[in-house]
């Protein structure tokens, strides 16, 4: 018995010895590989990203104009479905997963079953096929329900022997979470907002680009480690969602502006039309739009803008250029000659410099000799017959070029140039949008300004501005001389709703005296009541101040104009500034700024009651016929006695010498004397950087 017992013990010892050898062999042969596997599965299983949501962009009331929707990417694990090896086990995987998974996918998403089968078979090695992006929650749930019902039905299936024999299952499909940027108002404020990339990591154009750093947020992660006591600890780096931006955009005003721009364009059309509505007392921009409009949810499509044949025939470069053109914000990126609107700068500068006072009078004889008598030349007032003797106020109301040239000559190029700088011409306004142009090379400075330049600049010709510069400068002109930085951002709010940053008004500099400002306000009111826009810019019940502008584009004499109108309401103490610029209006009278006036009036009629702007008569007008003259145009297109004829006052072609428009010198203007033609050849010579 002892021997047998010893034998048993020996067998057990040998067995345990053999097992020790096995353990040593596992370590020797596969130790390194397994150690790596352990670490990698530990790392991959225990650190995972947590996606941060991009911040919302809201209007001034806090309603989101850009927000995020959770979406899912459909990931197919072909290796799981098809099996990884050639061994029987792979076939087993196939038998279990292939049929039902393909069925579930085609049932849930309508994919072609044969195609899915082919995909999985062809890419059987791949564990990660991102088959579809941005699937909605609904679609994901539908798939999951189908998956569940198929799996449960198969698991419950019983064969004739009463055994659960159906092993087929749906598997190897999973979903990745992502956020999709959605713009609920589609086209509204498209040029202001810009659009974010699909994954929300970067913004293109507009506020999305300018404030990208605030909006992006930080993706979080969770990672796990073993602490000193051997316990697994998980640390979470919380996803930090992007900040929410509360902007100054007023969706109603923006909507009205876009509506009338569209209406004007459908009715007449233009090369470019831009409108800026802002509060002159703090630089908040309520609305900014130009005629290019695109759906922010689908910004790359050119459908609906060009015909299908046209798109088909375009090269890639042409398509890219067309897109850039579409996204371009005319209001900040394009420059043009301002025309007579710039006269407010000349007059207020003269008053503050003591060159002119409210009681000064000027004599307009239809033109001004500029430069020394031998080499100089005559630059005409737009009214060749001359305005006669007028007070300073009436030089503005009549938009007299002669008087401006006289004032500028007295002022001299140094002072004139100083004031251009004070008004921010040739400089970026600092508006919080990317792609702003400064037109710095498109204005003259004291060291390169000739007498002719000084003369023409005095009435807004021969130098370029952007709409944003004009709107901001005019705000200071009417608000008592305070130049506030124009802006869209009002507040930055974090995830918890805490305001982390407020963007109050920023006073950049003082431009003019309060006295000069008061004077120009009354002069602007005079323009609307009895001056160049008396029939086209009045808004019933409101005291409106404004100034028209017309500039003939280079090359002069080919009948292309930029017409504009800037208004301030109420005229005595403006709360709203509305600036309208129409570049090359396709109307029968392209030089008539009444189109700008009417566009401005239509907008004001609708937004003033909404904005609770103080009314003259104490009641709000009804904007039932915003264009005022549409029917008349239809009815009496050629009747000079109709209201239509009345609308065009002294600016009407009939009243002007051929090719002469308000503010624009007659043909005999010394074009050869204008230096740096290349700079001023066209308003869009200098364009914003655009991205």
């Amino acid at each position: 018995m002892q021997r047998k017992l010893a034998f048993t013990f020996l067998v057990m010892t040998l067995a345990l010895f053999a097992l020790s050898i096995v353990i040593a062999n596992i370590n020797r042969d596969r130790g390194n590989a397994y150690a790596q596997t352990v670490l990698s599965q530990y790392a991959s299983g225990y650190s995972s990203p947590v996606i941060a949501a991009r911040g919302e962009i809201c209007d001034r009331n806090g309603t989101p104009l850009a927000l995020n929707v959770k979406v899912y990417n459909l990931i197919i694990d072909a290796a799981e479905i098809y099996g990884t090896d050639d061994a029987d086990s792979a076939k087993e995987h196939r038998d279990i997963y292939l049929d039902e998974t393909v069925r579930a996918l085609s049932e849930a998403f309508g994919y072609d079953a044969a195609e899915m089968r082919k995909l999985i078979t062809e890419r059987k090695e791949s564990r990660y096929i991102r088959y579809a992006r941005q699937i909605s929650e609904e679609d994901k749930t539908r798939f999951e329900e189908i998956e569940k019902s198929i799996n449960e039905a198969n698991a419950a299936e019983v064969d004739e022997k009463g055994k659960k024999s159906n092993k087929k299952r749906v598997g190897g499909v999973w979903f990745e979470t992502e956020y999709r940027r959605v713009y609920p108002y589609k086209n509204l404020a498209c040029e202001i907002l810009g659009f974010a990339s699909t994954d929300g990591s970067s913004g293109n154009w507009g506020l999305e680009q300018y404030y990208n750093d605030l909006l992006v947020g930080k993706n979080g992660s969770s990672y796990t480690y073993i602490d000193a006591e051997g316990f697994k600890k998980t640390d979470y780096v919380r996803a930090e969602n992007g900040k929410k931006l509360i902007t100054t955009i007023d969706p109603y005003v923006q909507g009205v502006v876009e509506k009338y721009i569209k209406e004007f364009n459908t009715m007449y059309g233009s090369r470019n039309t831009g409108v800026i509505v802002m509060d002159p007392n703090n630089g908040e921009i309520l609305a900014m739009a130009s005629d290019d409009s695109f759906d922010l949810n689908d910004p790359y499509t050119l459908e609906g803008i060009y015909s299908e044949e046209k798109i088909a025939s375009m090269t890639d470069e042409e398509i890219a250029a067309a897109r850039l053109d579409l996204w371009r914000n005319f209001c900040i990126s394009d420059t043009y000659e301002p025309g007579s609107t710039a006269k407010a700068f000349t007059i207020t500068a003269a008053m503050d410099e003591g060159i002119a006072t409210a009681s000064s009078s000027f004599d307009c004889d239809g033109g001004q000799w500029v430069g020394p008598s031998a080499t100089g030349r005559l630059i005409h007032c737009w009214l060749h017959s001359g305005h006669g003797t007028q007070s300073l106020k009436y030089t503005f109301i009549n938009s007299c070029n002669d008087a401006m040239m006289q004032i500028a000559a007295k002022m001299g190029r140094d002072t004139f140039s100083k004031y251009q700088k004070i008004f921010g011409l040739g400089q970026k306004t600092g508006v919080d949008l990317p792609g702003e142009a400064d037109a710095a090379k498109l204005i003259y400075y004291a060291d390169n300004m000739s007498a002719t330049d000084l003369a023409t600049n005095s009435f807004g010709q021969n130098f370029n501005v952007t709409m944003m510069q004009m709107a901001a400068a005019y705000s200071s002109v009417v608000n008592g001389g305070k130049y506030y930085r124009p802006h869209f951002l009002m507040r930055v709010v974090d995830d918890n709703g805490t305001v982390v940053e407020t963007n109050d008004r920023v006073l950049v500099r003082e431009t003019i005296s309060d006295e000069a400002s008061r004077f120009i306000r009354s002069a602007m009111k005079g323009v609307v009541e009895e001056g160049t826009s008396r029939n086209s810019a009045r808004v019933e019940g409101y005291s409106v101040g404004g100034k028209t502008g017309t500039a003939e584009k280079y090359p002069r004499g080919n009948g292309k104009y930029v017409v504009s109108f800037i208004s301030a309401v109420p005229a005595e103490n403006p709360e709203v500034i509305c600036y309208v610029v129409i570049d090359e209006p396709k109307t029968d009278r392209p030089n008539s700024n009444s189109w700008a006036c009417k566009l401005c009036r239509s907008i004001l009629r609708e937004i003033l009651p909404y904005l609770n702007v103080y009314t003259d008569a104490g009641e709000a007008p009804t904007p039932e016929n915003p264009w005022g003259i549409d029917q008349e145009i239809e009815e009496n297109p050629n009747d000079p006695t109709s209201e239509l004829g009345d609308v065009f006052t002294e600016e009407d072609n009939d009243l002007l010498p051929a090719g002469v428009t308000e503010g624009i010198p007659a043909n005999d203007a010394p074009q050869e004397n204008e230096p740096q033609n290349d700079q001023t050849q066209a308003p869009e010579t200098q364009e914003g950087q655009g991205n």
Binding site: M1, Q2, K4, L5, A6, T8, F9, M12, T13, A15, L16, L19, S20, V22, I23, A24, I26, N27, R30, G31, A33, Y34, A35, T37, V38, L39, Q41, Y42, G45, E80, D85, A87, D88, S89, A90, T224, I226, E229, G230, F231, K232
Partner: protein, 400 residues
């Protein structure tokens, strides 16, 4: 002799070596259970001491149990062999065929009232002791006929129903019971050839089984899940996502340990990767934390324990004592070998615990009871008899 069989003036042997090994293994087991289960327990119960606390209490109770049993004269309870046998049979019938049987993880192994599962226990553990005692009793009773085919077949026939009932839901316990039976009869008998034939034949059958799975499936001899196990054993990586996962994770743990391991408590695989890390798979974590060195040390401790069993069996005062110890030795030895073999994927996965180290209440209690039996046998060895009787060398006692 009374229940404790005390005699005045007799100085008896007590195997303190074995007690020491048991204490060492049990405490080491506690340590490893703590190391492997703290993470899981913290996650599930918010306290790392959940498993180790229970284990410590059961271990304490078991230790007292062991000491008490070791002081009982084994001749006293061997008389109850038939009762134990019938009780074991009854329990297995209850587990398999009555509503008292509780199914967990698809295996009907527990006995208890539904809804009050903390009081449930695995009767297979009791069956092991009952079978050891029963066989020891039968072998002593028919000691003269032990070499006859008739008696050996009779013994096998008596044990088979219980073993089959156990095997139905617990293949590994069935194998262990079969081995206990085989070893006890083998050691008791003087015949050799017949055992060699049985073992050899078993091996041949096993090899044929493994090499001809497909034909067996077609013939319907094997069930599909059994074949799955064999296939997983042959290539666990191919079944990584299903049945091969546990094996592969265990192998990762063993392989990543190196010679001295990652250090006590430093296992990564216990952090949710190795399923049942504190239970069946605890040896893989020992390898990971303590390396080949630690694993061999543990194996040596078991070998030392088995060696003590052999010494006690050889020196037992009578055949009955020897047979009891041989049965326990077969049980412990086989369970250790099976556990390590499963963890290293040398044999297909069967689900055996590592004695004294794995977490588990029932098995620990009955294991301690078995140790009590062995110590009881050791305590019957007389070192110094009263003067009236001539002192006998313990060595001669075993030859009865």
């Amino acid at each position: 002799m009374g229940l404790f069989g005390r005699q005045k003036g007799v100085k008896r042997f007590y195997d303190y070596n074995m007690v020491f090994i048991i204490i060492f293994l049990a405490l080491f087991g506690l340590l490893m259970v703590y190391s492997t289960s703290a993470y899981d327990a913290t996650l599930k119960f918010r306290t790392p001491l959940r498993y180790v606390g229970r284990q410590a209490i059961i271990m304490g109770v078991g230790f007292v149990f062991m000491i008490v049993i070791s002081k009982i004269d084994y001749h006293w309870y061997v008389r109850l062999a038939w009762l134990g046998y019938l009780l074991a049979l009854a329990l297995m019938i209850l587990v398999n065929f009555s509503p008292l049987g509780i199914e967990r993880n698809g295996k009907k192994r527990w006995l208890g009232l539904k809804g009050n599962e903390s009081l449930s226990f695995q009767p297979t553990e009791f069956v092991k002791i009952a079978l050891i005692v029963f066989l020891a009793y039968m072998i002593v009773r028919y000691a003269r006929k032990i070499d006859t085919w008739r008696l050996q077949i009779l013994l096998v026939a008596l044990c088979t129903p219980i073993i089959l009932l156990v095997t139905k839901n617990n293949l590994s316990s069935g194998i262990i019971l079969f081995a206990i039976m085989g070893v006890m009869i083998f050691v008791a008998s003087r015949k050799k050839l017949r055992f060699a034939i049985v073992v050899g034949g078993g091996l041949v059958v096993a090899i044929l089984l493994v090499t001809n799975i497909d034909q067996l499936v077609k013939l319907g001899v094997l069930q599909e899940y059994q074949i799955g196990r064999i296939r997983t054993w042959q290539d666990p990586m191919a079944y990584y996502r299903t049945t091969g996962y546990q094996v592969m994770q265990g192998l990762y743990a063993i392989g990543s340990g190196g010679f001295f391991g990652k250090g006590l408590g430093a296992s990564i695989q216990k952090l949710g990767f190795v399923p049942e890390a504190e239970n069946d798979m605890i040896f893989s974590i020992i390898c990971e934390e303590l390396g080949i060195f630690g694993a061999v040390c543990v194996i040596l401790m078991y070998l030392f324990l088995l060696w003590r069993f052999m010494v006690i069996a050889n020196n037992a005062p009578d055949l009955m004592g020897s047979m009891l110890v041989v049965g326990v030795m077969a049980h412990i030895g086989l369970q250790v070998i099976l556990n390590i073999a499963v963890v290293t994927n040398v044999i297909p996965n069967t689900g055996v615990t590592l004695p004294f180290i794995s977490y588990g209440g029932t098995s620990m209690l009955f294991l301690m009871a078995e140790m009590g039996m062995v110590l009881g046998v050791s305590n019957r060895i007389i070192l110094e008899a009263p003067e009236k009787r001539p002192a006998r060398e313990p060595r001669e006692q075993g030859e009865q």
